[in-house]
């Protein structure tokens, strides 16, 4: 068994990481810290998971979030998708193994993967709404969030959800508040079978190697670690019995990458932010980016895509000069 994290001292101390450890900040420049923290990771072993939902319950409790009592739609997933309150969700899939003809009930705890190269942060136009610490944790800063939903578009795993109440985006924080005081995430603490463990990324990889060897001894030849390189690796990793087929785990991305649109989009939003001063044509886009704590509408998306197309077509219009201080612009120009 992976040794559980000892209970930390109850005496308050300074947080173990904070503002000074930021390595990325949405729509802003940061000065990288001189000393990087050790990378942390959460390892989710799908082969040990019994789908008990203790993680979901612990998440709701620790974060003091409450979802609505829903309905049964003929499946075990409840709620039926991630929500602004349910930052993690057990997904169940029934898979008949074509080689053994055996049924396998693949249960995966879904939630933010804490990418080393976070698509949400890249896509985010609001300065400081998404940050990444040098230990790898990607966190949302709600007071900076404008609720535009670009983070969802930027996420290769379709994780963030926008709250209808406060119109900001929510996702798993990797319990940054707990980790900051030496605790592991609430879900790991609650997991009865230690299917969820937490530690440094190196420790987690090492622990995973042991688990994979065990799975191979049980006939799972393709057992492996899910730490996808397309996003620079993740700080939430999975042990999969069938690492060659992550998609059978309720559609886990096989080779996740940040959509190429995000880079271009990002260019557009900068331009749009600047152009908003006078460019009437771009008003609707600007509105969606800067004025509203509202979702990206279909019209917004179409407008954005048109702009992208136009830009791709020859960059006939573009920012007259270099990047105007990336993000702060959008806030400055807010009506």
């Amino acid at each position: 068994m992976f040794p559980p994290l000892p209970n930390p001292s109850t005496r308050p101390g300074p947080p173990r990481f904070g503002e000074q450890d930021l390595i990325r900040r949405s729509a802003s420049e940061v000065t990288p810290p001189a000393v990087r923290q050790t990378a942390v990771a959460k390892l989710i072993d799908t082969s040990k998971c019994i789908g008990c939902k203790a993680c979901q319950s612990a998440c709701l409790e620790w974060n003091d979030l409450r979802d609505e009592v829903g309905v049964n739609t003929g499946v075990y997933e409840n709620p039926h998708d991630l929500t602004p309150a349910s930052l993690t969700l057990m997904r169940f899939s029934e898979w008949e193994n074509p080689e053994t003809l055996n049924l396998e009930w693949l249960i995966r705890k879904d939630g933010c993967m804490h990418c080393e190269d976070p698509g949400c942060l890249k896509a985010c136009p609001a300065p400081g709404a998404i940050v990444q610490y040098s230990n790898g944790i990607v966190d949302f800063v709600h007071e900076n969030c404008i609720g535009c939903g670009y983070c969802i578009k930027g996420c290769p795993f379709n994780i963030p959800r926008i709250s209808k109440t406060d119109h900001t985006a929510y996702k798993c924080t990797l319990c940054s508040d707990r980790v900051a005081v030496g605790q592991g995430p609430a879900c790991a603490k609650a997991c009865p079978t230690q299917a969820i463990v937490f530690g440094t990324k190196d420790e987690m990889k090492q622990h995973a190697a042991g688990r994979i060897a065990d799975l191979k001894s049980r006939g799972y030849d393709q057992a492996g670690l899910y730490d996808p390189p397309g996003v620079g690796g993740t700080h939430v990793m999975y042990v999969l019995h069938h690492a060659d087929k992550p998609e059978i785990y309720s559609g886990l991305a096989k080779d996740p990458k940040i959509s190429p649109l995000v880079d271009i989009w990002k260019g557009v939003s900068r331009w749009a932010g600047f152009a908003a001063v006078g460019a009437v044509a771009a008003i609707s886009v600007v509105h969606s980016v800067v004025a509203g704590r509202s979702r990206v509408s279909r019209a917004d998306e179409e407008n954005a895509e048109q702009l992208v197309d136009r830009e791709l077509a020859g960059r006939s219009v573009g920012p007259p000069r270099g990047s105007p201080g990336d993000g702060d612009g959008s806030r400055e120009h807010a009506p």
Binding site: I50, R66, G74, N78, P79
Partner: protein, 810 residues
Amino acid sequence: MTNSWTDIKNTDLVVIMGGNAAEAHPCGFKWVTEAKANRGARLIVVDPRFTRSASVADFYAPIRQGTDIAFLLGVIRYCMEHDRIQWEYVKAFTNASYLVKEGFGYHDGLFTGYDEEKRDYDRSSWDYQIGDDGYVMVDDTLQNPRCVWNLLKEHVAVYTPEMVERICGTPKDKFLKVAEMISECSSPQKTMTSMYALGWTQHSKGSQNIRAMAMLQLLLGNIGVRGGGMNALRGHSNIQGLTDIGLMSNLIPGYLTIPTEREASFDTYMSTRGFKPLRPDQMSYWQNYRKFFVSFQKAMWNTAATPENAFAYDWLPKLDVPAYDVLRIFELMHEGKVNGYICQGFNPLLSAPNRGKITEALSKLKYLVVMDPLQTETARFWQNHGAYNDVDSAAINTEVIELPTTCFAEDEGSLTNSGRWLQWHWPGGTPPGEARPDNWIMAQLHLRLKRLYREEGGPVPEPILNLDWRYKNPDEPTSEELAKELNGWVVSDVVDPADPTKVTLAKGKQVASFAALRDDGSTACGCWIYSGCFTEAGNQMARRDTSDPDDTGTFPKWSWSWPVNRRILYNRASADLSGKPWDESRKLLWWDGAKWTGYDVPDIAPTAKPGVVMPFIMNPEGTARLFTRGMMRDGPFPAHYEPFESPVANVIAPRVRGNPAARVFKADMAQFGDSAEFPYAATSYRLTEHFHFWTKHVQVNAVLQPEFFVEIGEALANEKGIKPGSTVRVWSKRGSVTAKAVVTKRIKPLVCDGKTVHVIGVPLHWGFMGAARKGFGPNSLTPFVGDANIETPEFKAFLVNMELVSGPVA
């Protein structure tokens, strides 16, 4: 459990059958995960459904509910046929070599002595041959055709792999794979643990399901060893405590029995409780019965229980029937013969079978008292909740009195877990509103009754008036005071017979263990098996030392385990006849030349010589029973019987319906359905998101599993045009429910005796009170019949029909 939760980490093979540990016991299941991760243990799951336990199993085999005995006797047959037997263990530690009376036999599904009219057996032939020396006759060569071994061999011969497939619907190759994996554990260096729960108990032959596995474990030499055992996973954090303390109508604490009306005097009562050893030199520990019984009487009535009045024997109730089990009580209530009912921590409207009958029964009461921390459905049985409780409130005259109690997290006391550990707990919160501890409520009831008897008199007032009430605050005895009473104390000085000036037990002191108890009235003890839990050294249950020398999983200083802090029962059997551990890497207890020593408290006299005193000291035989004499009502061996409602006839004995010795009340017999009208085999179970009927009151749990559903396989769904999320109606001969449909690959049709059997799963957790959506439970559908020995209702196997009501709401 013979073993403990923590001991499961020592196993090589976990067999989950008759339970779903990952689903219903997720925290205990961590020890399975431990065994798998650290020892490379394998996990087998045998269940009608591919469960959450199956999702992490190495091998899964389907089985039709209610056919476990056929499967297990098939495995026993396989082990006998392939010589996968731990011979030294079986020959020395079981009754395999004992000779059975000539008159005993088994034909056409019935043992000798059956009386169809009474649905009962004359069990006189189900016994050993006794020699002139007064001991059982044995044949150590196992050649005698009347020895238990040969009778067993004959008894299981019919359960071939083909027959198992025909009865259970388990494909032959899957059965053989399971049998092979299990049989490997006959090696002294390999152990298997059996984890079971209500999936075995809630059948009309529940006790025999468990016996079948216990017999298999004995043949493999897996009882008394680390990583082995018969491990009942109790469904409630203190249900083990409930049975230990004797909260059953035919028991008093510590598994002593309530007298029957035929046992009018103490001498008559004791005359059948001598427990004379059946083999030479055996301990037969129940020979101490009188000490435990007298000490119990002293704990009840102290100075009023004297040798002159046979220690107040007359004040104990005398049973006129074998037991007032829950089915009998509700039958009597239904007949209008019960005036009042006190429901303490019990929600029978949802947890007793045939809800329609329960509602009618409760409606005939004059009064109903409900003591519970939650608003139960039972307390509101009279209230109309539309389809979910469609009663005519105006027609119900029962007066209902609700007494809100504290819950376990709001008071102090001990909980006894499945592994027999008494774990002390402290309040974690303040009780809301008018909630009062059960201790206070019971004390108030007692004190008021006492006053009424004193002031107004009445028949037989003595048991109430003389009840010992030695509490600092008579209005509310503390849990510590009660625990000390259960442990036992010295009533009057006991002196050394050799030297009368030397006091061996001083008056007023707590006894150290039940070994100190006496039958002359000088000791008192509320529950002999709990003796040692609260001694002069303090509250042993409150111990929280996690040390575990050599990582054996024993944790001897964490809380306290009954009996005498022993963690593995029958642990002397972990060593061979000479006292050497069967498996050095898993040693537990050994003979050091002079005494037994090891990691656990020896389950034998410390100086009892190996090879002489056998490990099963509670049995007069000293050995474990493969053949259980006349001790069970339905047979000395388990035999396959179909559930009372079964999709197929009993292929071994087509004439026999259900368990022939199970008690059935007349009106209930007429309420059994048949497969022509009710073609689907239904079963009930718990879900991990909820705990019984409690957590539906909690918003978070309600979010995780909000609405009542039934589970059906894809084949049946296609046949009926049912899509996931459709609303369906499921009904039995007794009632009807509507539910959402979960359509799954995890339930596959089984082919039993040539017939396709569809299984329908009905989870239990919903009602009409609480935070979750209103719903039904399986008990609207289930039959009113229980196990032949202990009357646990047959919730796991019944027949239903089903139809589509409406498609899923988009």
